[in-house]
Symmetry: D2
Subunit: 332 residues, 4 copies
Amino acid sequence: MQKIAIIGGSGYTGRELLKILLKHKKVEVTKITSENNAGKKIEELHPELFGCYDLRFEKYNWQTIKNNCNIVFLCLPHAASMNFAKETYDSDKIVIDLSADFRIKNIPVYEKWYKVKHTQVELLKTAVYGLPELHRYAIKQAKLIANPGCYATSIILPLYPLIKENLITDNIIVDAKSGVSGAGKKMAMPYLYNEQNENFMPYNPGTHRHTPEVLEILGIKNLTLVPHLLPITRGIISTIYCTPKQGLTQEKINNTYDKYYKNEKFIRLLKNEIYPQARTVANTNFCDIGFKLLENKLILISGLDNLLKGASGQAVQNMNIILGFDENESLS
Amino acid sequence: MQKIAIIGGSGYTGRELLKILLKHKKVEVTKITSENNAGKKIEELHPELFGCYDLRFEKYNWQTIKNNCNIVFLCLPHAASMNFAKETYDSDKIVIDLSADFRIKNIPVYEKWYKVKHTQVELLKTAVYGLPELHRYAIKQAKLIANPGCYATSIILPLYPLIKENLITDNIIVDAKSGVSGAGKKMAMPYLYNEQNENFMPYNPGTHRHTPEVLEILGIKNLTLVPHLLPITRGIISTIYCTPKQGLTQEKINNTYDKYYKNEKFIRLLKNEIYPQARTVANTNFCDIGFKLLENKLILISGLDNLLKGASGQAVQNMNIILGFDENESLS
Amino acid sequence: MQKIAIIGGSGYTGRELLKILLKHKKVEVTKITSENNAGKKIEELHPELFGCYDLRFEKYNWQTIKNNCNIVFLCLPHAASMNFAKETYDSDKIVIDLSADFRIKNIPVYEKWYKVKHTQVELLKTAVYGLPELHRYAIKQAKLIANPGCYATSIILPLYPLIKENLITDNIIVDAKSGVSGAGKKMAMPYLYNEQNENFMPYNPGTHRHTPEVLEILGIKNLTLVPHLLPITRGIISTIYCTPKQGLTQEKINNTYDKYYKNEKFIRLLKNEIYPQARTVANTNFCDIGFKLLENKLILISGLDNLLKGASGQAVQNMNIILGFDENESLS
Amino acid sequence: MQKIAIIGGSGYTGRELLKILLKHKKVEVTKITSENNAGKKIEELHPELFGCYDLRFEKYNWQTIKNNCNIVFLCLPHAASMNFAKETYDSDKIVIDLSADFRIKNIPVYEKWYKVKHTQVELLKTAVYGLPELHRYAIKQAKLIANPGCYATSIILPLYPLIKENLITDNIIVDAKSGVSGAGKKMAMPYLYNEQNENFMPYNPGTHRHTPEVLEILGIKNLTLVPHLLPITRGIISTIYCTPKQGLTQEKINNTYDKYYKNEKFIRLLKNEIYPQARTVANTNFCDIGFKLLENKLILISGLDNLLKGASGQAVQNMNIILGFDENESLS
């Protein structure tokens, strides 16, 4: 059994890792840290896991983790991950970082969007953007994975094949909608039940921080992203508006998607004017993709569970690839 | 007291009219029809109105309505309204039609989108599209009001001033989201609780029937509308993507909106990067408008309650105008 | 116009008072306080009220309130209200206190349940428990109203007539369920969206603080109250299990309720096995009452909006009585 | 691989079986029937299963099922199951019936509550009530399982040990709350989204059909059950009010539960005043049990997912027992 440490496990991505890895036949979680909750049992913070783990939160201590674990998931806020990753990496552990710290190769871009200095410039060079359907080969060799953003995954997966095959022009608009868990377990007024229940609203129009990683991976210059908060716990639906190049047909789009994703276990290509729904990807690691070709607009729609394919599920998928396990071990 | 008849009052727009008009000091509902529910008390179908009305649903009978009422609200499905309107109109009653039958002046366009022959071509000419903020003067003289569609209201109000003042180019994209009550009280699989709870999904991308009335009123040729179903009961948020003409500034947009809407009781111009939310317009007759100007995109966001400013509230607003009452009588 | 001050207006009861009083023809809110939000506009905290008030939160200063207002609503946490009430009362203002501080006449009972010393023993003697349907006459003369608890209102109203008429024995069980707004606008983990969405749970079984006021008003010794948190914003449904005295009939129960409540504008007696629903009392000041008589159990069900009949609506109802206005002015 | 047939697989219990069995290593679903949907692919009715099965609904035909399957799940309405079960049973297949038809041994009681004649009196004698934690040994030998009702499971499991050990008197009250999926995929007005969203209501107080199976299994005469509809998709919370016998202590209750359930994989005994929540059992096969002992009341609270431990999960648990698999194979 490979031994896992989860650093910063009090939030939703930590909880989801615990839920997934409980079903994993070849790894086990042996350490979990939380600076504010050291000493508490897992079920005190995550009551759904009552009786499932015999483990308590500890304060982070690299020596004890080093001696006990060979894979480390970092579930830390942006900027906090960098230095933890360094320590882990230097000890020859596999690090899967769920923050944004190693997603963007262009350091000035990172520093502009995240308003913090990047302190691990060398380490950043070795990091692999962990989108298995696009970077599986690099992931296999990686020791440091930058696990993609939830919105970013929902935007890159449907757009990548069309951009690579040169089927659309730029001027891409993404109207994205995420369940409230996308904000994490954050104690702030907008995330109170009464504020979001029976509500829906845009936020940060045109300025969301997942934009630069999307641009970098897609190799494009511009994209307008307007995220919205959905009154559901889990799920992202991204509605993407593109301009098709002349002569583009539905068949061509279908063929292109098949070429890239036909054998992908976790991408479902919905055809014939069936579109993704938040409900039918919730609690799965799937990214569903549908589209509608109009006269001079191509509308792509993607759906995924922001905590799974958008975070912890994809993190485990990356781990499975690195360790040579079945890619869908413990995932469904 | 003016006497009101509601034709087809078993659904949500009928219920909302009943709730609003209960507070109205100068009119009273004296007739309500439903072919399938004749004989039932109002509260049997609308339990929120328990004890509020001493009235039963009747089968439609023009003679009794004619003798008892001077204002008629038609809450009927599209295509069904036409002939009812004729009968009412000919008797010199005021008719406020909540269906689409009199919204579109261009008959082939109506017939193409609604897949039905228009049988009241003459009557259609006299109908006024009942958007008070744009057509108040015509409404005052009208005997037949075509009450606007819910999506249409949320799209036309924010776009109209910018288009009239020539501040944006075409290529407009509307990503619209509506609460489930937008579909009416319809017995169909997609409207079951378990299907839409914790869900979100697009439907009819690029082909929604409110498109032609938007084009006609705005006087534009194209607009891409993708509606989505929100897991809330009430509320529409429309996120509208436009291309600003060169030199457009935030101040100019603010001034333009002020010029058109400053004194409008039911339009709230949110400024300083505050955006509409579904929760804060629910149960009101407000249409809230916010915007964000990016480098080469202008994003407009509107919010309203689809059953009020998007249907019954606007219908009563039209009635108040026609009858010379305070425009906000019984509305809030 | 009577002038109103709202002390502690940043929460949900303050917001609801603002919404109700906006429609009131004979009073106006001229002062609103919040220690933490002084200087902010009302709409910064309550965006639903955008553009509705031209008023800012102030820090509490008795002199300015004294000179400007004749009616004071206290929307403060328990224990904080006492001394504010004293100051106001001494200046001959009308005080309507939405906290629990003046609800319980028995001081040791208050101090045991609320774990705080009561500092206004004399003032407490003058306070009237503001349940208009039971204490209208006393309310009319009162200068200090203890506005009842939300659960308490939902429990006392259905039980009072049956206990007074000696129709049931004791051993009463109340299984109560409240929407999340019952907890107030409180920044705590359990009130985060993701914690309560798609959830339901009991809390404080047998130990909820509304129990003593229920016992005191009903004049009984025991009652088992188990409150639960419902995944909705507004509404309380209380299911109450009693043991009927021998020979009790449905007709007798109906007659008893009619005797007490027949002419009450805000109590709706649902008959014929119709039961209250949270949805149909939301956004109203109604308390709906239904019941089912079984062989040796009588089940009462009550429903109300915890923020209206359970708090701010009832507070305005009390004010209307004291000031001699129509009891339902601005309420519906 | 054992071959499975699902009879009547268009609803929620059929869908859940499909989802669970997809993960099962030792069985596969090879037939699924639906009289109204023959010819459709599974994903046309259950879009969450897009791409997961290569199977279409068929009309029921015993010969083809007989030749292809050795285990049959009946997901049929009450009364419809009886005769299907007979045919299957006679062919020596294992039948797991999710309807109520074989749950009640007392035929007049069944016929009174379900208002239908029982046509399989002999077969009924061989049926085993499939509550593994109480009847594991009998289940192992059974060929016909009457899978328990969802409410019944949530009521019997917490009460059984206390009644067997004679720790409580009768006069038991159950205030039960279920998510809307408990009603099945039924096209009826009360199950529309807008009717139950933001709602909560009791139904059939004192007359719910799960009552007789509870009485029979617990061996008691009376119990008052009031079910309510919760605005969530999945989950039952039952709050159970009992009268403790003199001298009952918290420790004694804990010990009793340990005695019966300590080693039960799917029962979680929450201690120390922790109570079940709907959210933390959703999507699991757990039944969580908590309690609070007051002076002369004992309050039990149980929680489970009505579609899993309350239906399809328990059905698979029963199958695993009969076939000698790990009891939790494919369940979590």
